[in-house]
Symmetry: D2
Subunit: 109 residues, 4 copies
Amino acid sequence: MDSLTKPTQPTAPHGYTPEKEALRKRLNRIEGQVRGVARMVDEDKYCIDILTQISAINAALHKVSLQLVEDHIGHCVVGAAEESIQSGDASIVQDKISEATAAISRLLR
Amino acid sequence: MDSLTKPTQPTAPHGYTPEKEALRKRLNRIEGQVRGVARMVDEDKYCIDILTQISAINAALHKVSLQLVEDHIGHCVVGAAEESIQSGDASIVQDKISEATAAISRLLR
Amino acid sequence: MDSLTKPTQPTAPHGYTPEKEALRKRLNRIEGQVRGVARMVDEDKYCIDILTQISAINAALHKVSLQLVEDHIGHCVVGAAEESIQSGDASIVQDKISEATAAISRLLR
Amino acid sequence: MDSLTKPTQPTAPHGYTPEKEALRKRLNRIEGQVRGVARMVDEDKYCIDILTQISAINAALHKVSLQLVEDHIGHCVVGAAEESIQSGDASIVQDKISEATAAISRLLR
C-alpha cells in the first residue's frame, strides 16, 4: 500500500478536504440558524422557543466537530503513525494524539 | 410592590427584552464566528485550529443560553409564581417550571 | 392559597425532599455503575466498552441534576418570589435566580 | 522500530493498561464523591451545594474519559494503522476510527 493518507490532489492537505463540500453546507446552514435566532430575538419570540433553536445549533455544531475529529484521526494521526513507523520516531504520532485529545477536551467542556 | 416582573414598556413582553441589545450583539458575533469557520474550511486551515474555533462558538452559545435561562426564570417563572399566588392555582407556575427544566435538559445534551 | 412552597413536614427544608427516595435510588445505582467501570478496568475490558459505560453514568448524573434544578426552581426560587412579593424586596428572589443560573452554568461546562 | 504499540507485558492487552493504577484511583475517588452526594441528600443539604458536587463529578468523569480516549487512539487506533500498513487493508484502521468517533460522540451528548 502506498499510503493510508495519500491526498487525492496535491492541493488538498487536510483530512477534511474530501468532505469540504458537506462541511461547507452544514456551516452555511448553521449560519442561517444563528441568523434565525437573532431574528427571533428581534421579534420578541418566546425565550423557550429560542432556547430550543439554540439546542438545535449546538447539535449541528457537534456534528461538524465530530466530522473534523474523525477526519483528523483518520488522516493526520494515521499519517503521523506512518511517519513514526518509517522514521522510528514515536514522538511524531504522540504529538498528534496529544493535540487531538486536547481538542476533544475543549469540545467536552 | 406592584410586580416583580412588570415590563418596562407595554411592547416588551419577554424576560430578555431589557438585554435585547446585548443578546443581539452576542448573536451577531457568533454569526461572524461561524462565517469565520466556513472561511477556514475554504482555506484548508488545520483541523485542530478549526475545532478550537468551534469550541469558542460553543462557549459563546452557552452564554446566550444562560442569559435566556436566567431571564426566563426571572420573568416568566417568577411572573407565573405571582399569578399562582393571586389565583391560588399552583399549576400556572408548575407548567412554567416544567417547561424551563425541559429546555435546560435539551441544553445539557 | 397558603403557600406554593409550604413544606409538608417541618423537617423537610429543601425542594428535593419529596423526591428524596427516588434521588437516593438513582445515586445508589450511579455508585454501582462507577464500581462497575472500576471492575472493567481491573479486568482489562475494551476501552470503547468502558467509554460507553461512562456515557451512561453521565446521562444518569444529568437526570439527577435536572431533578435537583427542577426542585430548586419549584421550591427555593418560587418560595423566594413569594417572600419578595410579601416584603416588597425583589433582591430576595433575584439572589436565588442568580444562584440557580450559576449552578446551571457549571452543569453546562 | 518494532512496534509503536507493543504491550510492555503479554498480559496487558489494552491501551490504558500502563495508566491502570491512576485510572483506578480516579474511579475510587469518583465513587466516594457519588457516595458523598448521596449523604448530602440524606442530610437535606442545600440543592445548589449538591449540584456543585455533581459538577465536580462530571469534571472528574470527563478526565477519565479523555484518558481512555487518548489511550485508545494511541494504542488501538495506531496499532490498527500499523496492521493496515502491513496488510494493505485500510479497513482495519478505518473500523477503529469509526468506533472511536462514535464513542466521542456519545461523550459529547
